[in-house]
């Protein structure tokens, strides 16, 4: 079985004190660990302005957690806890391993295509002449890749 990677983002109410924020993060991290997930990173963004009001709040404390686990049990449990915790005003968990793998594949394919591309033109003088002619014809045109 391969590992899954999840990105769990939650937003805490701005009314919490610094200590309460730390406590909440600590407790959620523990929940994840207890359910057998490896907590790869916990990124605290700090207080941020929300794009719109959520309930009566216009700021929120953003926390991004990255988990590695075999199945989704820790994420399920975390989501259940987010729902019953009033100080969590928004949350979102996304499985990212598949998308990242796909992105990696695209990167490799692009690399392979570059390798296959024909060697650059040897005839430097001839190419220069052609480029000059092109530049003269369309002075301001930006060449697209």
């Amino acid at each position: 079985m391969s590992m899954r990677r999840y990105e769990v983002v939650f937003v805490l109410a701005p009314t919490l004190t610094e200590d309460e924020v730390e406590q909440a993060i600590e407790s959620f991290t523990k929940t994840a660990r207890d359910k057998g997930a490896e907590v790869a990173s916990v990124d605290k963004w700090g207080k941020r302005r929300l794009a719109f009001r959520v309930g009566k709040h216009s700021d929120g404390f953003y926390v991004v957690m990255t988990l590695n686990e075999e199945s989704g049990t820790a994420v399920t449990e975390l989501e259940r806890r987010f729902k019953v915790t009033d100080s969590v005003i928004r949350f979102l968990s996304v499985r990212t391993d598949l998308a990242l793998k796909r992105a990696d594949k695209f990167k490799k394919e692009r690399e392979a295509r570059r390798q296959k591309r024909p060697a650059p033109v040897r005839d430097r003088a001839g190419r220069q002449e052609m480029e000059d002619a092109l530049a003269a014809a369309e002075p301001a045109e930006k060449q697209e890749e």
């Binding site: 929300l50 794009a51 719109f52 929120g60 928004r90 979102l92 996304v94 992105a103 697209e144 890749e145």
Partner: protein, 70 residues
Amino acid sequence: MVRRRKFCKFCAEKIDYIDFKDTRLLGQFVPERARILPRRISGVCATHQRKLALAIKRARHLALLPYVAD
């Protein structure tokens, strides 16, 4: 006046994974009225537009981007 050819920003910059947390990047495709910029205007390719739209919707849920202009 020569009209500039449109091109896909994500293809040009070789961005394969569009992160919903990257508000700076996503914000470029959410103009003032807060709607997702159509690709006939932005020139983004179909593949990337699909990913972009998903990322914007995720960001909206987390209140990182607006649903409606205020």
